[in-house]
Amino acid sequence: MVRDETLPDGEITHYLRYTWKKKIIMLGLMMMTAMLALYAISAGSAELSPWQVLLTLLGQTEGQSKIIIWSIRLPRVLAAMVAGIGLAVAGAVMQTILRNPLASPSTLGIAQGAAFGAALAIIGLGAGSTPSTGGGALLINSPYLVTISAFVAAMLTTMIILFLAQYKGVSPESMVLAGVALGSLFSAATMLLQYFTNDVNVAAVVFWTFGDIGRASWGELGIMFCVVFGSLLFFLFNRWNYNALDSGAETAKGLGVNVESTRQWGMFFASLITATVVSFLGIMAFIGLVAPHLVKRLIGGDNRFLIPASGVMGALLLLAADTLARRIIAPVVLPVGAVTSFLGAPLFLYLLVRGSKLR
């Protein structure tokens, strides 16, 4: 936003003050996320002080703490942040372009599609698991096959929804319903696969769907980063189009927006993010739904601020959930997907009831 002190006092000054408030809230969220990230890197079975963490990140220390931070904790924390940004931004864009507050990666069947893909790979394509003798955790023989299969199935779900919208003239409202239908179809298919296989495979599928940030290595993190930030850039480029869409499809057309292609490409990139994140890390419910809504309560629905702030909120929530999942009954790590809902739902309900808003 341009700040020009020579402008006459009045609405513009008030308006700029109003948009600055939003920016300050966003900055506050970023700082909270950064502080939490520092804590998350320092906390663990090998306790490190935040100071040690900073020194290590700056390359000033050698030895054990360097290995712990660079190969275990930093990728995990970054993965939580990148995945959180991705899921939240995807949710925010889906809610805007489908004009439905319930639209999110998990309500549009994409997550269920990914779970089916993973189950198919584990059970049908022999990427199945062998019980590990030591730690009790289950191992998946060929994680890449599972990831690719999950990704393909998730994108297939999206393609079906987009196909219906493009060629059958299905409305945005019906796209959400189509997503719900596809989600339950894939859930049923996953159930059938599980019914006809052995208990080890069932356990592996269930374990996969739990969602685990720790699965990400640097290589996977790099792919997620590129997909998430590439799509984010696309969304930011379209933020005025999304604002226009928010005022109704006909108004948007009158404002020069190509409504159909804006919807299609928005859905495509939102789904690409979801498919990528979910196939690498498993299902993390609720982030894509709750983060944009929390932000809307804080700073309103203007996509210029909603999209980036949702990303920050998503990073904060998923990082908080993962840190809690690691720490609450350490050394046992809880499934992060359950924690996201435990953390997000009460917060969400509280804000719904309180109805906080920025003026």
Partner: protein, 250 residues
């Protein structure tokens, strides 16, 4: 001639909605489209800026075929105020700023903001600048969507029942604002109107639609009791009261 419409046809399936519609509008002119519900008024308005594509005929906007222009190119010249609009959690200032969307590349500039401020002042919305749309009354909301269209700096302004939600005072205020802006900036206004008396008071030209076709079109001289009675199917009397033509249903 800013807009020239020739032989437009539109149908939903096999049901004809518009047949052989043609008219022209000059800059600074206010054309009212009149007629019963279902006569095709709103559909006609939507074909003008390519929200709907007519099956036949041509629409020339400043000499260019509308069907060949991009949405953005159309939006730079034509603004459209829909009959139904959404109220959402967005401030009045933001809603009007959205009218600058066709001009904004990455972010709104200082001149965009100044223009919005000017439009807010002109439409009497200054004190509502930071109010949320979902906290406004129907009349205020109607002013906001018209202000947004004016912020678009159009050469042609399309309005679908701009006064349908308004009380008497707001009807007059809103139409007065539109009329003044149209004369000042030389904007052509095409409005679907329900209230014949308001149409008579503010427009220069009239087009009566009946059953998908133009029944009659022209200046105030076409607004005779006979024409109105025939096209609406209600007998009326047209009188002159204090130098103002009024239509009275009998």
């Amino acid at each position: 001639m800013i807009l020239s419409v020739n032989g437009i046809e539109f149908r939903y399936g096999s049901r004809p909605i518009l047949e052989n519609i043609g008219f022209t509008v000059q800059r600074g002119e206010f054309l009212s489209i009149l007629g019963n519900n279902g006569a095709g008024k709103s559909t006609l308005l939507k074909t003008l800026n390519k929200i709907l594509s007519p099956k036949k005929g041509s629409i020339l906007l400043d000499g260019q075929e509308v069907s060949k222009l991009s949405r953005l190119a159309i939006a730079l010249k034509m603004a459209y105020v829909a009959q139904n609009y959404e109220s959402n959690r967005q401030t009045v200032f933001d809603a009007v700023l959205l009218g600058r969307k066709p001009y904004i590349k990455w972010e709104a500039t200082a001149s965009d903001l100044a223009l919005v401020q000017g439009v807010l002042a002109k439409t009497g919305l200054e004190e509502f600048a930071l109010r949320y749309l979902d906290e406004l009354s129907g009349g205020e909301l109607q002013k906001v969507v018209i202000a947004r269209a004016l912020a678009q700096e159009p050469e042609v302004l399309l309005l679908d029942e701009p006064t349908s939600n308004l009380d008497l005072r707001n009807q007059m205020e809103v139409l007065k604002t539109i009329q003044t802006a149209a004369k000042e900036k030389n904007i052509a206004v095409i409005a679907v109107m329900h209230d014949l008396n308001l149409a008579l008071r503010f427009s220069d030209k009239f087009m009566l639609l009946q059953n998908t076709k133009v029944f009659v079109a022209g200046g105030p001289e076409v607004m005779t009791a006979e024409n109105i009675t025939q096209s609406y199917g209600v007998s009326v009397s047209v009188e002159r009261v204090r130098n103002q033509i009024v239509v009275i249903p009998m």
